[in-house]
Amino acid sequence: MATGEIYEVFARKAHDEELKHVGSVNAADDDLAKAYAWTVYDEERWVEMCIVPRRAVISVTHDRKHPLCGN
């Protein structure tokens, strides 16, 4: 079964903790990605979990695709 895209999964165990990257899932859509993230990364009692499509992540470090200063 061909699947859609990779989603990065972030979670935290307490409200005063920062969100941490806990892994990723491959899913056809947001609904499936939510179900997969919750069931695959269920080793902790998370108070919050969220997912981000990898395509929405903007790289800050040099990604070697774009030359410096536009040249």
Partner: protein
Amino acid sequence: MTTPATLFDSTDAMPADCVTGLHDLLTACADTKLLLGYHYGEWTFGTPELEAAVASCSLSQSELGHVRLLHGILKSHWGEDPDALVEGRSAEQFANVTYLDRPLSDWTAFVAMNAVVDLAVTRVLFATREGTFVPFRLNVDKMLDEERYHLHHGRGWLRTLSQGEPEACGRLVDETVKALVAVRTWLGPADDAGDRALVTAGIKGETNAQVFESVHTMIRQLAESCGLTLPDLPAADFAGWDAASRRIGTRLDEDILYHLRGSKNAIFKLN
């Protein structure tokens, strides 16, 4: 000014038809969740992708947890023996949605079960979330929280399968309709006295007929959003419907019942 609803901490002060109606409803939900747990467990292996295998196993665990919780309520307030509920009843007495009576033939049937049958039981729980039977109300939010991921999984896979070839989409529609018809029978006729008594006493916020309309609408809208058109359901016929088993002359598959029961492993049971 409205009069506050009477809360029930137990079945003691509850009208007799509510005691019976609620017993039947909780048993029907527990039986359906037991069968959902069985089928999700069976499909831990054989899913189209690894994440779905992990999800299926997880969905099975949460359904079995809910069965334990519901059996606990049935034990505390109706004196039911949780072991006997599984070991001591016949295949005709199991009050599960009949779509779960047989092995699921393929992943399409699994998705119909997940999207329609699981949704229907969850929708029944949702109808009681502000109900007047306190022991159930204290537990329902936890179950609904966990069911959220079941619904995501069902919706996501129905959407995924709807992008297949026309023949596969046709089969998805057929299985979805079969599941809806089975759910309608399970929820029962609109004039069921036990169900009406529960709504009158505030134990449920909606009748089962309203719950079915809601499930039907949700599934029809989901299908339409995927480019699928569900045909009109065949006319309902509740002649011979039994409120306890929620069946009309059907029975659970004996092989499945055998696998559900722990009796074959009774010699290993710790006292």
